[in-house]
Symmetry: C2
Subunit: 295 residues, 2 copies
DNA sequence: ACACGTTACGGCAACCGTAAGGATT
DNA sequence: AATCCTTACGGTTGCCGTAACGTGT
């Protein structure tokens, strides 16, 4: 059976780049680190770090393979304590929601509880968030897209409108509506993959959407907004992520022919058969009170 | 810092339903289990199991929350040893691939190496497999659908044809091709979600696919085949999963109007920046030699 | 009386610190 | 000489077993 203290020592050595600094970081004597790493190496039957006196201690190939697993072990172990004690609220959120929608709600939540500390919001891509939920790294997740899978319960939280954004003084801003033909002929900027926006477009426009041309795909909504602002193309983003820009006029939202209002269903996902912690229940309750369409 | 032996004792008590049996299972004395669980409970600051003399020891609410995390810890710790020693090959695969395509290849792989033991194939849904890869629970994954995400490299392995299956003596078996209009009017049986088949259908048929009516969604291809055989509807499945049934005639594959041959790209996904183990490299090489279209 | 978990206690191993040793710059 | 890791050694802690004890069936 692996010993987590030894694992911790190993990770500290890699991070600190040496046994001496690792000891300082963990508040232990340096020979202790030597012992712990040595013992771990005996446990796994392989050398894990090179002892290079001149430069930093680097992990070996075995060490590199172990490293991500070691970090996951330590993260999980640290969280296990909080989870079982019931004093934890880690919310997983895909970036758009975590950046633009959740923070004010989290603040209000902290105010309501007269609590000093905000709930922790772990932001990632939509698929990353799904992984974290499955791995038990987060208590609940607020996502743009969730494919039903066993062991979890999902409920629609609210509907978030999507808006077609173009740069200021774009020709389309002079149109009352953008015709579909024009729409799909333009250069599009794609956002973070796995959020279901592409799926939503295909469902809404059907075959016509096949002609849609994605000029570039960017990893974050901030990058998408910058690209649109620079005139590289148009994009479809959640309203909440561009409210600021629409007010200042640096970006413009233009209506689509046929009064098509695209909406994305945001969902709250929880693990099934696992009792929620008190904070998680309270937060889910608070989400219910804001479970209105923001459109 | 959590102690994994204590975690192991806790899980064993829950699984065995009592301290006595848990001790037997772990090869320890029963009072040792009492001590370990007690110490773990002190570490996390909460009671984890009820000591009910009359019936089975049940986990408390805290215990239930801890349980999935505890199991994950033990799984990961057990695997950490094999991974760092470099003697592991755990292949994640979504069910279709893992059941119908990989086993013969895995067998050939074991033969080539003159190895006694087959590589372990962990079968799950497509999203589950993605989670396991992200959590480091598998060395590589063979999947039906992968959305590019940072930290992993994916390569197309081969193209797997999809066939439209209907029961024996279905009216469509008398047609030379099935017209699209007819196609989308039928009752469809949906397979495991998250495999991208729906996406593929929408991409291929565009707007016409909107009319597609999913009569029921089932979790496994075996269930889908049974439903189709029972005349509950038609479905679109990978060729390899119905080769047996097509030969015996219990199911029929019918061509679609316009000689549309739907193909699904199977991909091999590996973690980036982590040196592969020797078996993993060898298996990836073997996959390359079978990287042909099977159509 | 029996089954099961808890408490008590003792031996042994493991852990961690201090101090000394070796190697490289 | 200085830095850094390793080895050696001793005190303390923790782990696990046996034995005795409580308690509910």
């Amino acid at each position: 059976m692996l010993n987590l203290r030894e694992v911790q020592a190993f990770v500290a050595v890699v991070d600190a780049g040496g046994f001496h600094d690792a000891a300082g970081r963990l508040g232990l004597a340096q020979p202790t680190i030597s012992q712990q790493v040595k013992k771990l190496e005996e446990s796994v039957g392989a050398r894990l770090v090179t002892r290079d006196r001149s430069s930093r201690c680097a992990p070996t190939a075995s060490g590199l393979r172990l490293l991500p697993i070691a970090r996951a072990l330590l993260r999980t172990a640290a969280r296990a304590v909080d989870v079982s004690a019931g004093r934890t609220l880690v919310i997983g959120a895909c970036s758009n929601i975590g950046i633009y929608i959740l923070p004010p709600i989290a603040k209000r939540f902290a105010d309501t509880l007269a609590s000093e500390n905000l709930p922790e919001i772990v932001i990632g891509t939509n698929p990353q968030t799904a992984s974290r939920l499955a791995a038990g790294e987060v208590d609940l997740a607020v996502m743009e897209w969730w494919d039903a899978r066993a062991g979890f319960v999902a409920q629609t939280w609210r509907r978030e409108p999507l808006v077609l954004i173009v740069p200021a003084r774009h020709p389309w801003t002079k149109l009352s509506v953008v015709p579909r033909r024009t729409l799909f002929a333009a250069a599009w900027i794609g956002g973070e993959p796995g959020t279901g926006t592409g799926r939503l477009i295909r469902e809404t426009f059907g075959k016509a959407a096949e002609r849609l041309r994605i000029a570039m795909t960017l990893g974050s909504t901030e990058a998408v907004k910058a690209a649109v602002r620079a005139g590289l193309g148009v994009s479809l983003v959640t309203l909440s992520s561009v409210e600021q820009e629409l007010r200042t006029g640096s970006l413009c939202a233009v209506p689509i022919e046929g009064a098509v209002t695209l909406q994305k269903e945001l969902v709250v996902v929880l693990p099934q058969d696992v009792p929620s912690t008190a904070p998680a229940r309270a937060f889910t309750m608070m989400l219910q009170t804001t479970a209105v369409s923001s459109g």
